[in-house]
Amino acid sequence: MSAVKRRYERIYLNSVYRTMSSPATDYTLRAYYRQEFERLRGEFEANGSGESSVRDRTAVVDKLALQLWEQHVVTCASSGFALAALGGFGRRALFPYSDVDLLFLAENEALRGRMKDPVRRICQEMWDIGLRVSPTTRTLDDCARFDQDNVEFTISLLDCRFLTGDAGIFDRLRETVLPQLVARESDVLVQRLAEVTRTRHLRFGNTTFHLEPNLKDGPGGLRDSHVSRWLGAIAALDSGRKRPESLSLQHDSERNELMDAIEFLSASRCYLHYRAKRDENLISWEAQEELAAKGIATNLGTISSAEWMRLYFRHARTNYRNTTQLLEQVPGDRSSLYRSFQHWRSRVSNEEFSVVDGRVYLQQAVGARDPFVVLRLFTFIARHGFALSLETERRLKNAYRALADAMPQDARLWEHLRELLVLPHAAEALRVMHSLNLLTRAIPEFETIDSLVLRDLYHRYTVDEHSFLSIEVLHRLKNNDVEWLQPFGELLTELERPDRLFLALLLHDTGKGLAGTDHVHNSLQLAAATVERMGLPPDDAQTVCFLIATHLEMSSTLRRRDIYDPETVRELASKVGTPERLKMLTLLTLADIKSVNPEALTPWKAENLWRLYAGTANYFDRSVDEERFHAEVCTEQVERVAALLPKRRSQLLKFLDGLPQRYLMSHSPDQVIQHLEMASHLRKEPVQLGVRRVSGQHELTVVTAERAGLFSTLAGILYGWGMDITKASAFSNRAGVIVDSFYFKDRFHTLELNPPERERFKKSVVEILMHEAPLDPLLESRLKADTKPAKLKVETKLRYDDESSPGSTLLEVITQDRPGLLYTISSTLANENCSIEVALIDTEGAVAHDVFYLTRDRMKLTREQQRAIEWALTTELSDSLPSNW
């Protein structure tokens, strides 16, 4: 036995083992520590208690530290010198392989210098024992000094615990120096602590829901509970100053919930340490399997890893929410301008909700029991991005049972949800709703993916978080400054009904929670049940289901097909059907890829997606008359309409014969039936009109017999009435029946504010089309009134395409939108004796984008005719601008 070992044996016999239950004389301190470590490991394996494991390891290390102090310091001097524990050691929460943080506290510099050697020896021997020691030696003056660049040290003092030595000097630190320091610097301390924590959360994407989470540093990890503890300690030490309510300890129920979460995390961390034999905090997939198989931190025995991870996420979410609630009460080091802004934000309070310091409160406590008030509360959050106040959250939790039972799942839910989904902070509102278990009460199908971990190397988040993130990604497109994402942002603003896309995003992966390999099929089944229960109109329900059924289509095309091959584009267009659906599917694909992990969407992938979109959108515009309906070949869409009219099948087929397939794709069965009905009355009334309101606009549908200049006359009438045409289409069937549709904004609210004007408007359309009234007076009065300058100048571009259509020349017109534009273009074309076979009219902001399929004498246009039209249009479009434009 070496001299060193003998010395340790003596130490062991004389001091440490005085307090031990079973002394063994041949142990060195190292052997003692090893034995105790194994004992603690065995106890953990037997009882699975994280709390007792970390507490007992602390006690073992306490004894070792005391013993070494006796050995190396007492013999020198102990007056004016003390040993304290910091960090986890100070909190009596020493995990199996955690560092041991020590503070050697000296009364003055001279003593610190004198004790340098004993300190070095203590630390050296602790390393030899197998402990990772992290020591610091400070004087009282050092501790009293606040170092902006080392706030961490001051924060670490909040956990300090006396071990041995001069108790008087330690008391001066704890009772005088630390309270004075905190009272003096509490604002900076709290702000820096918040800053460090926010930066840490940001490193993990501000989400708990990682597939392989870090249970120490990740959001909702143990570090967050330390932050809460430090904030509480600062509040207690600075009790003379008024602090936000939440910086004090939580209510009993919340404290219990939090304690459960900390115990769960502690037990899991102990297991990870023992398993890896080092300070390992990542819950890898392999670790998840083992934790679940052994039922670590639960009393459920063996459970599946998915179930175990759900428990983990529930506890981490509790911990994360608690910390973020506290942090949000800490004002950042912001300018007075920001504070003014915060104050301004509070002005959005209304009769149901008030906003104080960026947090939402219910005006009436009883509102927490009313599911419709609560749904409006989430919509309020989605609109403004405020967080729930602690008080509101408590009220909602207390009223959970009543709320859960009364939460609507039908059309009343969809009325709220469709409003919420399109608001800028929808994802945040959905997350809050989900964390309160109310989202799964409203949409039970979502429960399948609640905290669901799916294992692959590509995904980083749980499936529910991936769905929320995809919604967030789309909303962020609106204000993003990344150049390669901007075209997608513009696309989003062009959508007629974005609510359907957002609902599809919310539900697109719900099938991943069901057994089987085809998650798309499963998601579709679940979504079909959801949209049926929520009473979505058939067209909306079909669109949502279509998006879910095809949500991998564009990704797959990008991976497997040549996107420049016309056949690839044609096939995609055929599957998608309409330009509106193509836009939605493109955005869904982008959001789906980008929310897989932060690096998944590269500029390269985005560019390819955009090219595929642009190619397919162009194909839609240029191929309308390529595929016309033939009565003998019935498509699925036709059969869907025919099923609603079993007795009028032949009449329907006759009406559809010769109409472009795009007509069928872009009109719902109800609309087709309405058009058929109108066509069947043409003998009695040769002009059939329909006017309805759609998404804040009006739609005028005209069904009549083909005649020269019809489209331009209709455009002129609408302009004469002061209407602003945003979209239009013109189709004709083989029998010469025209179906023209115009979407327009009622610029002067003529039809809305004066109900009798609606009938006068319809009468005016019929009379002018029937040549019973002239168009010119209507136009002249309007031209005089319209002198408003445009805000933006768009260069006019005209492009001909003789290739895309077998029978027509395509003319694409891009120009500045202005009142009467469509009338100007279409009347110019009519003056050049052109027939408009098909017209696709669209407006994006100030830019008009119109595509006309033109013939003259039923033939494509010659080069000379094209030049003549170009000259006439260029002249007219420059002349049609008021002189001050």
Binding site: L558, D562, I563, W604, K605, R611, A614, K797, R799, I814
Partner: protein, 112 residues
């Protein structure tokens, strides 16, 4: 040892990867790249906006192979990536002096 660099159409990547795995090439580095050879590029229009597509998306595969696998790897890539059209891509070969596995200092072909 030979280093193989193949620049191929993105749509052929999955097929090429499967073909290489089948002949025993297990390690490869894949990069999303842009470029053009004789294919040059073309001009596209979307809603009146002109997009000059002068460099096209490609995928670059890099793999260092034992010499015995080189011919079969070339064959696998050409079979899987060829459409016969301009733009199918290229394969470049170069000699490699040595390879070192960082984990355990293995060298040469055993490090591959």
């Amino acid at each position: 040892m030979t280093k193989l660099e193949a620049v191929i159409q993105p749509s052929k990547f999955e097929d090429v990867k499967d073909a290489l795995l089948e002949i025993g090439v297990e390690g490869m580095t894949v990069t999303e790249v842009r470029g053009h050879g004789r294919q040059k590029g073309h001009t596209e229009f979307y809603r009146g906006r002109e997009y000059t597509v002068d460099v096209l998306p490609k995928v670059k595969i890099e793999a260092v192979l034992p010499d015995r696998l080189v011919d079969s790897a070339i064959q696998a890539i050409t079979n899987a990536a060829r459409t016969g059209k301009i733009g199918d891509g290229k394969i470049f070969l170069s000699r490699i002096d040595d390879a070192i596995r960082i984990r355990n200092d293995e060298r040469g072909e055993t490090a591959l």
